[in-house]
């Protein structure tokens, strides 16, 4: 990997890191366990490594943004996650912030092209 590629990769990961939490919170308005959540995100265009996603779920739960419960499904115990009431509030704020950033970046990008 060249220096430029390495730099790009680092910046890309940094950019993604902030977005993943938001994507997970948004997707968990509907209940999922780890594997189906990963599949749902990938189907919508956001592939996440298992080794990133599963610890992230734990962290978001410990921060009170997600609620979880163990339940049997297909003869197997699984831990299902969904957005908590605190998580809903935070998600709304984060989405607003996300939209503002998105709009600002669009404006900056377009003004740069003029």
């Amino acid at each position: 990997m060249t220096v430029a590629e390495n730099l790009y990769e680092n910046l890309r990961l940094e950019l993604r890191r902030g977005c993943l939490g938001l994507a997970v919170l948004a997707q968990l308005r509907q209940e999922h366990y780890g594997y189906t959540l990963r599949k749902a995100l990938a189907e919508r265009g956001l592939a996440i490594d298992e080794s990133t996603l599963y610890p992230l779920l734990r962290r978001l739960e410990s921060q009170g943004l997600l609620a979880s419960e163990w339940r049997e499904e297909d003869k197997r115990n699984k831990r299902f996650y969904r957005l908590s009431s605190d998580g809903e509030q935070i998600l709304a704020q984060l989405l607003q912030e996300w939209n503002e950033i998105n709009t600002a970046i669009d404006k900056i990008n377009n003004s740069g092209n003029l």
Binding site: S51, P55, K78
Partner: protein, 343 residues
């Protein structure tokens, strides 16, 4: 399945023990679901080799487990700038104190070169030890701030305030003078310390100043007059004062531009030992060891040497006096110019 189970057992070894069963159960459920999906996709069970390849993609057990651990810092980004500042200051001051203490000990105890070499080679150990202690203290602070931020709120504000004083805006920026950098200021102090060490070693080891001439002086019929001993201690005292000033400037964060008053006082004090030598009674700078026996042979030479030293001292005294008057004049002119500009 056996390979998956072995993989999970490996991950378990590195998980935080309080939550390892819970995390492992969840991980097992997710991986088994994924494995079933993969097998359904290809319409047959995965071979051992395929399972191994798939698990390798998932990551080494230690790294997978590490992602479940809370983020931990020995010294986190919040207090790192303060830590770095304190570490540099501590190492610098320990080096200064260590150098002075060893120089005095070597000078007083009439130590050999081995003692000097030992003192120098021990410097890295002293610095590593200092860095270790500072790091330990800040690691404890980091732990306390991360785990009990409400218990000691004053600790956070104290760390945020360090260094306690920002340096004043220096007036000489206007004159376009390049401010002295911190490494230059530190180098100034280090060289002052080294010079002082060298100076303190000279009485016991004259060869450091006179080289091979030290032996000649020992064998010669001439003897240095007592005024040179007074001169020597004046020079030592002056260097100690200058070193102290430089250290204080560093501590105050005022190293960028040396204080004009300090420069004037330094030059004025530097004039004292020169005047001391200049006005020595009868201009006697060297004497004969055995005046009775050697007077006939070396009396005239001693007189020439004394006259030459007196003339040289007179010239040096004139130069230093002119420099001092120039400094005073320039300072008065700058002060009056600033006053006029302020009016």
């Amino acid at each position: 399945m056996d390979r998956l189970e072995r993989y999970l057992q490996s991950v378990k070894k590195y998980l935080p023990w309080q939550r390892q069963d819970d995390i492992l159960a969840e991980l097992r459920a997710n991986l088994e679901s994924q494995l079933e999906d993969n097998e359904a996709e290809i319409g047959r069970p995965l071979t051992d080799a395929e399972i191994e390849t798939w698990l390798k993609q998932f990551g080494p057990p230690m790294q997978v487990a590490a992602r479940y651990a809370p983020q931990q810092y020995l010294i986190g980004p919040n207090i790192f700038p303060t830590y770095w500042y304190i570490l540099r200051m501590a190492c610098f001051w320990v080096l200064v104190v260590y150098s002075i203490a060893n120089a005095i000990q070597i000078a007083v105890a009439n130590s050999t070169w081995n003692a000097v070499a030992h003192a120098i080679f021990f410097i890295p150990s002293v610095l590593v030890m200092t860095a270790g202690w500072v790091t330990l203290v800040f690691a404890v602070l980091e732990y306390v701030l991360a785990n009990y931020p409400q218990k000691w709120p004053e600790l956070t504000s104290w760390i945020d305030r360090l260094p306690s004083k920002v340096p004043d805006i220096e007036m000489d920026f206007a004159s376009g003078k390049k401010p002295r950098s911190y490494p230059m200021a530190v180098a100034g102090v280090v060289f002052s310390v080294l010079f002082l060490i060298w100076l303190l070693l000279v009485p016991k080891h004259p060869v450091l100043m006179f080289g091979p001439g030290a032996q000649y002086m020992n064998d010669s019929p001439f003897l240095l007059a007592p005024v040179w001993y007074q001169f020597y201690w004046w020079i030592v005292a002056l260097n100690v004062v200058q070193l102290a000033w430089r250290c204080i400037d560093l501590l105050r964060g005022a190293w960028q531009h040396p204080n004009r008053a300090e420069q004037i006082v330094s030059k004025a004090l530097g004039l004292v030992p020169i005047l001391l030598v200049l006005f020595v009674p009868d201009h006697v700078y060297v004497m004969l060891k055995n005046s009775g026996a050697d007077m006939a042979h070396y009396g005239a030479t001693a007189t020439v040497i004394n006259q030459a030293i007196h003339t040289s001292t007179l010239i040096v005294c004139a130069i230093v006096t002119i420099q001092l008057l120039w400094e005073i004049g320039r300072t008065i002119w700058e002060v009056s110019r600033k006053r006029a500009a302020a009016m």
